[in-house]
Symmetry: C2
Subunit: 178 residues, 2 copies
Amino acid sequence: MQRVTVLRLGHRIKRDQRITTHVALTARALGVEEIVFTGEKDDILISSINRVVEKWGGKFKIRYSNSWKEIISNAKSQGDYIVHLTMYGANLPEVLDEIKENFKRRNLLVIVGGAKVPAEIYRLADINVAITNQPHSEVAALALFLRDLIGNSVYNQKFPDAKITIHPSRAGKAAKKN
Amino acid sequence: MQRVTVLRLGHRIKRDQRITTHVALTARALGVEEIVFTGEKDDILISSINRVVEKWGGKFKIRYSNSWKEIISNAKSQGDYIVHLTMYGANLPEVLDEIKENFKRRNLLVIVGGAKVPAEIYRLADINVAITNQPHSEVAALALFLRDLIGNSVYNQKFPDAKITIHPSRAGKAAKKN
């Protein structure tokens, strides 16, 4: 299995902090190794995600970049396959096999917007992919994309060195510190 | 196919407006007919969701209730199956068949938190369900739950009377007004 990196565009501290946090935590929970965000540099976002990683384990990384052009151009030069999630794209079920085929041998850079996504992003992406062509959420779009890309095993990620693990229970709360 | 209603607990206007908006839009995009939220009454949230419905079609409804107890007790008296999405619950893949079995003949009430979920919710739910037992997002949890419950056809919802529809394209933007 190849590696998935998420690029979150145009982060705004005041407006997007919780949404970007949800994007990052969803990426982590579903096996992504790194998220890069552009827009406004946000140290609170970075430290809050790092605190989750420290507590809940795994190797997930978050970092800021001031240039999405550089991130995309680096990914391209490494041969990565660039997927842009947008409600204007081709429907996921219709292009899933093609994406899976590329994912067999190439790492993926998955781009999620962002208030105003520059037109160039649509062009730089190898494929623009929609989840339903309806307005909803970059958090949901990323979750559904990763789930369909990876299949049921997306739910079986390992998080080594966790300080907290949960003992699943249909009755609910039963957290346990290691 | 039975009906799904979402109950979003403990909405706070200042902190949750965007997250609850994403929960509602995700529910709508994936075929849910109604969302009820508790916590703080939020007319801006309601009107922004209603504007999306007016523009993008379909019959999705959003409403406020000041009592989750009443919503759950009404659902129970109608024979609905109550699913509470929480990271402390049983893992989705292990209980999915059981939920599907119930969904064949019963409507679902899907509960998503909320800052502090009252202990009573865990007890009132027929089942507490986790997506990975890791901290992430109620938006992602709802999206993944609905996708696995309904299967691939979750992406083929119909939205009658839309003023805008998108012509899907792998090259990206090509929106068209009806």
